[in-house]
């Protein structure tokens, strides 16, 4: 296999292990949420339909009750006028209407029950959809964070092809730094051993000159020290011969100095 192919394959195998090519779970979550919202809308429409039917039945019952009352009045009036036949007719119609009202009332109660159940289901579903929405957003955020983390890790380990460049560049920079540090260390050692001249002391000649200079500076120090000793020697002899009077004067002077400080 050619060199170009081998390098490419190595990079690609690294990239494919790093990158998860599965479908984006965030899209699946969003789709699922969308479906739940649609279902909730359907349930709500169902509640509205049942409520409308119930109201229609209520209206019918109210109208029939009015008719019942009317027929009762008519029967009473017919009896007052001595028309028993008319009163009987009115009561017969009324009894048919009463039966109808009974049926409709049962229907109304049934619809009422349906409506309550559906309202409850709709409320529960809404709560579920709400909680799903929150969870979905949490999962999405976690996924996005994990994805970002993967990208960061990928960048740091230089797994992807693009990052290969960066990884290589970083390594080169590190190598150069290490090389320069090693060089600086080596130069320090060479200067210390005297094999290499320190640039700051380059004008001071070679190592022999430096040694001579060091020796002469040492002898200067010695001679100056001897001169100082010679100067201070006669003073110490005088101090040894001091009289009691001189000592008293010195003590008085010391006392005055202390008082002055206090």
């Amino acid at each position: 296999m050619s060199l170009m192919k081998r390098i490419s394959l190595i990079f690609r195998s690294k990239a494919s292990t790093a990158l998860d090519r599965a479908e984006d779970p965030r899209e699946t979550l969003d789709y699922s949420y969308q479906r739940q919202v649609e279902l909730l809308a359907k349930v709500r429409r169902g509640v509205a339909d049942v409520a409308t039917s119930r109201k229609r039945v209520e209206l019918q019952v109210a109208q029939l009750r009015q008719q019942e009352n009317k027929l009762t009045d008519q029967a009473q009036k017919a009896l007052a006028m001595g028309r028993e036949d008319l009163a009987r007719e009115a009561l017969t119609r009324k009894s048919a209407i009463t039966a109808q009202v009974g049926d409709l009332a049962a229907q109304q109660a049934q619809l009422q029950g349906e409506e309550e159940k559906l309202t409850l289901a709709s409320q529960r579903l809404q709560a579920k959809v709400e909680s799903f929405r929150t969870r979905k957003e949490t999962i999405k955020a976690t996924y996005t964070a994990a994805e970002a983390q993967t990208r960061i890790n990928e960048a740091f380990s230089g797994i992807s092809e693009e990052m290969g460049d960066v990884g290589l560049a970083v390594q080169r920079a590190e190598d150069k730094t290490a090389q320069m540090q090693a060089r600086a260390g080596a130069i320090d050692e060479l200067i210390a051993s005297g094999a290499l001249d320190d640039a700051s002391s380059i004008n001071r000649g070679d190592d022999i000159a430096r040694e001579l200079e060091a020796m002469s500076s040492q002898s200067d120090v010695e001679s100056e020290l001897a001169a100082l000793k010679a100067k201070s020697a006669p003073q110490s002899i005088e101090a040894g011969d001091s009289t009691p009077q001189a000592e008293l004067t010195a003590q008085q002077g010391e006392q005055q100095k202390q008082e002055g400080q206090a």
Partner: protein, 92 residues
């Protein structure tokens, strides 16, 4: 075909150029196997020059997978060997 030179970017190469590039690539591969540093440097320079002159550079913001990847122009024989080993230059 898209070829990336590490550290330089990607270039688009016409398929008709591939035979010529493969010949240079073979020389480079032989140099890596024989461990001849001088031949290796020469072969790598020849291959990279051929890729640069035959290909048109891709914009930095284009997102295209490279079909082939080449070592950087200043890569050493050891670096290319490391690149070809199981772990490559990049850990993980």
């Amino acid at each position: 075909m898209i070829i990336r030179i590490l550290g330089e970017g990607q270039r688009e190469i016409a398929d008709s150029e591939l035979d010529g590039l493969n010949a240079l690539d073979e020389k480079l591969e032989n140099a890596v196997e024989s461990g001849d540093e001088a031949t290796f440097t020469e072969a790598l320079a020849a291959l990279l020059t051929a890729v640069r002159s035959a290909g048109s550079p891709l914009a930095d913001d284009s997102l295209e997978d490279s079909d082939l990847i080449l070592p950087p122009s200043d890569a050493t024989l050891d670096e290319v060997r490391a690149l070809l080993s199981d772990d490559g230059l990049i850990p993980g």
